[in-house]
Symmetry: C2
Subunit: 479 residues, 2 copies
Amino acid sequence: MSSEEGIKTKKAQDFGKWYLEVISKSDVVDERVPIKGSNILMPTGMEMWHAMMDRLDELLKGIGVQNYYFPLFIPEKLLKKEAAHFKGFVPEVAWVTHAGKTKLSERMAIRPTSEIIMYEMFKLWIRSYKDLPLKVNQYANIVRWDTKMTKPLIRDREFLWHETHSAHATEEEADKEVKVALGIYNKLVSGMLGLEYLELDRPEWDRFPGAEQSVALDAVMPDGKILQVGTVHNLGQKFSQAVGIRFVDKDGNKRLPYQLSYGIATRLIGAVVGIHGDDKGLIIPPAAAPVQIVIVPIYTNESKSKVMQKCGEILGRLEEKDFRVHLDAREQYTPGYKFHEWELKGVPVRIEIGPKDIEKGQVTLVRRDFLERIAVPEDKLEEQLLEVMDSIGFQLQKRAKELLKVSDAKDLKEIKNKAEDGGFIRVDFCMKESCAKKLKTQTQLSVRGNLFGKNEKAGKTCAVCGKAAKEKVYLAHAY
Amino acid sequence: MSSEEGIKTKKAQDFGKWYLEVISKSDVVDERVPIKGSNILMPTGMEMWHAMMDRLDELLKGIGVQNYYFPLFIPEKLLKKEAAHFKGFVPEVAWVTHAGKTKLSERMAIRPTSEIIMYEMFKLWIRSYKDLPLKVNQYANIVRWDTKMTKPLIRDREFLWHETHSAHATEEEADKEVKVALGIYNKLVSGMLGLEYLELDRPEWDRFPGAEQSVALDAVMPDGKILQVGTVHNLGQKFSQAVGIRFVDKDGNKRLPYQLSYGIATRLIGAVVGIHGDDKGLIIPPAAAPVQIVIVPIYTNESKSKVMQKCGEILGRLEEKDFRVHLDAREQYTPGYKFHEWELKGVPVRIEIGPKDIEKGQVTLVRRDFLERIAVPEDKLEEQLLEVMDSIGFQLQKRAKELLKVSDAKDLKEIKNKAEDGGFIRVDFCMKESCAKKLKTQTQLSVRGNLFGKNEKAGKTCAVCGKAAKEKVYLAHAY
């Protein structure tokens, strides 16, 4: 529906405008719905999401997570149970107050996240240490009535996500599970999608409301700004205390479990589009592409039947080898129109088959990243496709890695000089919120946290205030 | 978590009580969430739903349907666009009136269905006959604040569903698509799940608000009452007229497309549980079972390593053949406990492997429906499993068919005599709503409609009022 015209904006010149153009023309999102901060997820975006969640589901099941579905509504009284959590979310909560013509006796929050409603059930499900660990996942829609400027996929008032919640008998086990969760996200975000990011342990004032530790995956977008694409929260015993979850341990003592919650939202689609796309449109990494290969027949009236027969034969061969392949047999469009449309939608590989190809026993293969055309002998096709797809994945990840710049700065002057370069600036820092606020006012940079699990040693003085430094932290402009 | 005790209620004695017991003990639903009409979908229920939707997705893609996601919120003004539609849904709509501390300038409905919000976009997407047919699906949560008694999965205030919406250039094409949609539902509901139902064309007063025709899939539950498990609505041009969707046809004229909407909800899980289950718990048809085969090792300290090795070997062999198989290696539970748990959860086939089986080169196979134990030589296992699973599917469908009783009645006296028998009563009917109301008051039976596409001829007089009959219709007690 949107493929008749190409992307007009150059990515390098105006990333923001390019992004809005590409998500709409590549059939990822349609913004024209008459509800602010809501969008339509279009087929290309939707199928990318399904592919990501299928892979995630496999990974989560591998660590013993099971799927559930919890209610959209959370009664106000319940949401208030954990004070910091409530305070953090209440400014963004959408409230249901009426049903039909009746005013509800208690208003209901539309879930901005599901800790409280899930943990009300954990209280019933967890009785003994034998019930632990408990690992619960759901795929759901989330509403956060953000008052900031909305941006499709990156800041929506309604979005889709997965949220996994676990409860453990000991602190050690919970700490270990943080690493397990990060490992799963690495397989998804880096392994499948070819994105690069830092795992940053957020400073106290920037944690998930109610969490003791929030480790975020921070990727760098092509405009140099940081996009948080996932988070793992160590909740300690705060929620189990607030909600009243208790288990009997091996010695018969009642104890509070330690909890985790972690999630990834449709924002991740925005990162893939923004980081991998080019001036022709999307480029979807082969591992995540709903269609990996599109076959476009090229024929005259005379050669049509021969060409279509060969296309069908190649389609069958590739399907048998489990490639996700599509034959574009539409008669109302020219090959040129089709090339353009599939480039826009980011299909990693195109195969063109015409009468000359058939004569020579070859097909023409075009890779989406370099748009390079190569003739491949028919009998080498499967082999070449595997190589080309590997190579596309590798090239995309290489480009993504180049965006992830880290440079050091030792004082405010150096920070200011580097503030417009994009990526991360690494500094020694005092870890005072007041100092972070001062930095933000003067430079628009936020303190994104220290590198998780790496124990990077801080120098002596805070790069901002000059007082004693406590941690080495990463600064950046954030979305 | 819920498997320590078996089902106490006999299905044949008190179906309603049995149903509530089985859905909770078999890990399908947990009702104990503190929100009326909402439940937790538990892992067994959730995975059944995923399996059903995976199959449906395949079928829908086969007819050119694509996946989208539309907003949860529908502004009140929009919802009012189709008058009958609004009037039909407004008594059940949950309204969002506030976000954070701010009162919204226009209140937002939580979608009770998505016609209006989708068709606002159809208006933008459909310009020419080349854009037709347009076939759009979404998987979503739906809220209908039903004031009737709620019943888990059967009548929930929030439920999950798929809804497919299509737009066509001609009336003929739309009429044909009704049959295509019913064909897909037949492959899912009968082919995959082994349920039996009638396709009934609802009388005018019982159609989807705004539809010109509603064809429903009516299954019979073991208590003789009817459960509507899916519907296909022919919307004609009512919505395209109300919303203002127009396309330019081949001759350059502006015309209104003809539309369809059809959906199936998590209620279908309730039908599978209710119809196939027995006094031991669930029985999941093999085609829909997330786990088709569970392997339970039986060993003493001495034989443990030998038994576990054999179990691992069999697991690998069956996985290779694409059976969905699980090895229950938990050490804290006895084999008896495991048998009981997997029977409760409805896994179609259990394989027991002990030292004696190994000696004899066999395994013990237990089918869930008859709980019959047979020794199977190891080298015949795959072959036998295929046969047994086919046979379980066949037996379940046979039982379901027996519930689908239809008997004829020629007057009110006969109707009353048969009213308590369950299933359908077929009568000649005048098609007046007043007459249907009278029938309902006197017998609690509803007019469910006439058999779709069968043109059954009516006799001369209405079985209720004695005046001229127009149609042969099916009466039943409905959920």
